[in-house]
Amino acid sequence: MNVDGVIAIFRRVLEIEEINADSDFFELGGDSLLATRVLSGVARGSGVELTFDDFLLSPTPGALAKRIGAGE
């Protein structure tokens, strides 16, 4: 999954349109419940299962896409 795929998931889950590769999920009001919905979206789209801690360390679409790439 590329950055655009992750951006699309952020948009859907946060219900915010203005998301770019550097948007920080938690600064945009994302909480742990919504974070799990990003991770399930990532798993469905790429087959990569990340943990909550992975997401805390990579809370932007850019950083998350890199982690997904490493797992694919």
Partner: protein, 441 residues
């Protein structure tokens, strides 16, 4: 115009206050020897109060917030600073934040499905939701099974529904679950403390809202209403010892209790059915000299797979003692309510000491069993079981002769919450005033 209001909870008192402002002569009949209903304070130390009933509110609870301001009551944040504790089957763990140490992808899948089903519900008329027939006949427990859930989702789902709506998934329809979650602002809002439905508490306890509302009203305590007779000239309300006459009556009590009143002419549609279940909540309060967990970097928040305390929250009043509130909900509430007071105390304290090993024996211990309250019959609110929304929903707010309906279970907005109770009271008062205008003009 004379109006009798049955029930001195938030709904009845809000209605009574509105009608009084509009010039009506209002009498409130209350079964208990106190006002407040499902809001109730216990004094845990001199001048320090804990909420045995409703406690939390958020920004979207606009009527509640406005009422508090009008009554000169302040909100105090439910601070949640520090790490959380979890006992989810493999010993106890400390984690940063509120996220449980469970498979995040599995929980995400569960929340995705919950969000989907929640978004389909028509909150203005849940019984008209597309697919209502299926959603109303399936229990939340069967719905979960149908998703072939991951074991972690299976473990978490009853804890989540317990926390959100004090429900055993086997007792509620999917329609009720989805309606409740949407009516309260969605899963994310209902689940959140900061920025969500648990952001604040009422400083000094939620019962103060009722006490202050009641101050200016004619309230008769220890007067359970037994019968209501509507006739061409008015309505008569009978208690064990007296009768009251009025032009209209507002029934502002939970649906199962409304059905215990003998209403003549009889209702075409009852207020509840045999599937309508009580919400299952017992609150335990453990009182310490101070919020000692904070010294250990802990927030007091915990989530536990085994009871009695399925979750704990720091409800300490500012500058007062440490108050750790334990929630016993869903099926676990039935088990716990059946224990002797000594066993209730011993099991709750033992669990608190497992979660927070540095805690001493508490200075005080209080259990409030809402299942056993004759005049609540369950909490946080009634749970609509399979078929209930289809059968009861269309008549939920429809006046019957001179009888009007209020109570949080008649509110399509924030159903089950204090906000819903207040909105329902305001709606019933407005209905009476509108109908009155129509007949006099």
């Amino acid at each position: 115009m004379r109006v009798v209001v049955i029930g001195a909870g938030l709904a009845g008192l809000s209605a009574a206050a509105r009608l009084t402002e509009a010039g009506a002569e209002v009498t409130v009949l209350e079964a208990r020897d106190r006002v407040g209903g499902r809001t109730h304070g216990i004094e845990v130390a001199p001048g320090a109060w804990a909420d045995a009933g409703a406690a939390y509110l958020g920004d979207r609870h606009t009527e509640l917030t406005a009422l508090m301001a009008a009554l000169d009551l302040k909100a105090t944040p439910t601070g949640m600073v520090g790490d959380s504790r979890f006992e989810l089957g493999h010993g106890s763990e400390t984690r940063h934040g509120r996220f449980p140490p469970l498979n995040a992808v599995a929980l995400g899948e569960l929340f995705d499905r919950l969000a989907e089903v929640t978004e389909t519900v028509r909150t203005d008329a849940p019984w008209l939701t597309p697919d209502a027939a299926t959603l109303d006949t399936t229990t939340a427990a069967d719905w979960l099974e149908g998703l072939s859930p991951h074991p972690d989702a299976k473990l978490f789902f009853p804890l989540f529904l317990g926390e959100m709506m004090a429900a055993d998934p086997a007792a509620v329809s999917v329609l009720h679950m989805a309606f409740y979650l949407r009516s309260g602002g969605g899963i994310r809002y209902l689940n959140a403390f900061e920025g969500g439905a648990q952001q604040d508490r009422v400083d000094g306890g939620a019962q103060q809202i009722c006490a202050r509302l009641a101050a200016g009203l004619d309230i008769r305590l220890r007067r359970p209403a037994r019968a209501i007779d509507s006739g061409p000239d008015g309505v008569t309300i009978t208690t064990d010892t007296e009768t009251f006459h009025a032009d209209s009556v507002i029934v502002a009590i939970p649906p199962v209790l409304a059905d215990a009143i003998d209403i003549r002419p009889a209702l075409a549609v009852p207020r509840s059915t045999t599937r309508t279940a009580p919400g299952c909540a017992v609150k335990a309060h453990l009182i310490y000299p101070a919020p000692l967990w904070r010294d250990h970097g802990l927030s007091g928040w915990s989530v536990n797979a085994h009871g009695p305390l399925l979750s704990t929250v720091d409800d300490s009043p500012d500058g007062g003692p440490g108050v750790l509130t334990g929630f016993v909900t869903g099926a676990e509430a039935h088990r716990y309510a059946a224990l002797s007071p000594r066993e209730q105390r011993a099991t709750a304290i033992a669990q608190a000491m497992r979660l927070f090993p540095f805690l001493p024996e508490p200075d005080g211990f209080h259990v409030t069993d809402w299942l056993g309250e004759t005049y609540s019959r369950g909490c946080y609110a009634a749970l609509f079981g399979p078929g209930d929304w289809t059968r009861l929903g269309p008549a939920l707010t429809t006046p019957h002769h001179r009888v009007y309906w209020a109570g949080t279970e008649t509110s399509l907005e924030f159903f089950g919450l204090m906000e819903g109770a207040i909105r329902s009271g305001h709606r019933a008062a407005a209905d009476i005033l509108t109908d009155k205008q129509r007949t006099t003009s």
